[in-house]
Amino acid sequence: MPDRILTGTRARNRRLDLGLRQAHVAKVVGISGSYLNLIEHNRRRIGGKLLADLARVLEIDAALLADDTTDAILLPIKEAAAAFPEATVEDARAEELVARFPGWAALVAAQRRRIAQLEERTEALSNRLAHDSQIANSLHEVISTATAIRSTASILAETPDLDREWQARFHTNIDTDSERLAQSSQALLGFLDMEMEAGDTQTESAMEQVEAKMAQSGFYFSGIEAGDTLHFDDVEDPSARAILQDWANSASKDAKRLPLDTFSQAARATAYDPARLASRFDVPLDMIFRRLAHLPHDLDHPLMGLAVCDAAGVVTFQKPVLDFRLPRSGSACPLWPLYQALTQPGRAIRRVVRLPGRAHTPFECFAIATPVGDVSFASEARVTATMLVRPARNEDVPDVVGPGCRVCTVQDCASRRHPSLV
């Protein structure tokens, strides 16, 4: 194993660097010269007190002398060199660097690990900026307003014969748009602040990985309908894999109880009415919500999203739709019917809601909280709430729910937890 520098070799190199005689070092640490010779030629393994004593005499951290240091330091050093192929480094002497200058080598390795960590975080943040619907909406608002101002200002500047009525109108438009631009810029900053805070503590959460995996297949796996057992071996994070596996188990049961063709036909016949479908198939409402949200898009079913949370309000699964997405950070608006359902388990709730601001799609939400798992006299029932979300007809008068207090424009809200940044 050319990459492994054993403790003995490292100790010998260090002793020679310090100009110490083998007999002297052996005497100080209380062993014979011949035994130290065996150690230095890697024919005896050492640890514990002797390793600590030897490290002290050789003026080196014991951890840097131990055998497992090699992989922990040498590999990152080699990675660092590989990351900068244009740099001329003495590649063949990396082991010597570790052996002779373990402190400097450890520093290079630590910096390499830090760089890799920062690169991962940058990529995760970049993915969030690209895929987070709230940031996308906020950015869309800023760019759209800037477009309106640019277009209107151009007309004013390039049309000398513009009549007074149009002039006044366009000036008013610029005035209102510039105010909106200021507000939407602040909202965008608010979202970015939240993302940066999240990025300080995590890279990509298990939920985000689950969403990404599900989104790749449009939240639909045809194998479920065929009774196949799904595996998610390509998902590295075990937590994300466990969530996906739970979802697949639940979806399989739903598919067996509500076969696709029969259910699709009934869904169309009932205009996708969850209560009528639950009655028709004699199944719980939350099963209908899940099945509706996972109907294949290519069969021309309407867009539907889904959110599931536990009794603590933690979102354990969600399928976003249009502007609808509950925040990952657990700072969602408590006015979402999902959370209201938790306060009254068993009660079916239907509400039409919309996010604050202009031009947001109203959503028809159906929610219910139900016990899950086996019933037992020995323990409390486990409750989850499930909410089906779909775009509502515009004629409904929607209630306003916020994306989260910090970026919500509704000022006189009894449920507000934090001041708005907007």
Binding site: A130, A136, N137, L139, H140, I143, S144, T145, A146, T147, A148, I149, R150, S151, T152, S154, I155, E158, W166, R169, F170, N173, T176, D177, L322, R358, A359, H360, T361, P391, R393, N394
Partner: protein, 122 residues
Amino acid sequence: MGRRVLLIEDEPNIIEAISYILSKDGWTVHTHSDGETAMEKVMQGVPDLIILDVMLPGRSGYDILRDLKGQDATADVPVMMLTARGQAKDREMAIDLGATRFMTKPFSNAEVLESVRALATP
């Protein structure tokens, strides 16, 4: 009456500005701001050109574009997509779905006018 353009966009001041410059250029401009009922508006009188925003309330511009290209009456109508997102994949999706042109906000009036004139040329 000039050639007809239907502008499907939910931003009222963009609607007003584009309507003004196109009207001045001789176009008859119809506007609509709701994604969900956009197809009904199109079918009320198929225009010579459609300018279609991607992010609309009720329904995405991509879904509307898919419907437009899937119906005989509208399949050949040139569609210019407007979007605040200029990523390559958005552009590719629009072109794949049959968009004739893809314009990223913020655009200039001159760009809009030039594109509309180019698309109107048989």
